[in-house]
Symmetry: C2
Subunit: 83 residues, 2 copies
């Protein structure tokens, strides 16, 4: 089963990379872009067919390895394989 | 309007960061994670209410600034503000 983990900085955390991109966009003339936040997108292929079991596993290792729970939040989407 | 740009490495491009995460997961006992690809998630607030116009603009600066078209593909989702 394919799993997609979207990782975002918590809203209270400053995002200097996003700020830099926003400034670059403004210099290019895109003056109405008012907020840019940059996160990560981790896509994995995980064994197992039970969505609840797979989601639990992905949640577990997202917390342990993929994210920093102090600074980031994450969201999991599962994509079932087409049979 | 909120725009979300999901940026992924093209499938032909090696992803050493993803490979490293996969190996770390295997060492932690998640042996059935078979493929890990790491991309970027850029979320922006863009002025304008016409979805076609906003999408065209986001597509334009995604190609010019946010992505490397030789190595990456991107996908745009628009989220309308709740009025």
């Amino acid at each position: 089963m394919k799993a997609r983990v979207s990782i975002r900085l918590k809203s209270a955390i400053l995002d200097p990379q996003g700020k830099t991109v926003q400034q670059a966009l403004q210099q290019m003339g895109y003056s109405d872009v008012s907020s840019v936040r940059i996160g990560k997108l981790v896509e994995l292929e995980v064994g197992g067919n039970d969505p609840i079991e797979v989601r639990t596993k992905v949640e577990e290792f997202s917390r342990k390895l993929l994210t920093n729970p102090l600074m980031e939040t994450f969201e999991i989407e599962l994509v079932r394989d087409v049979v």
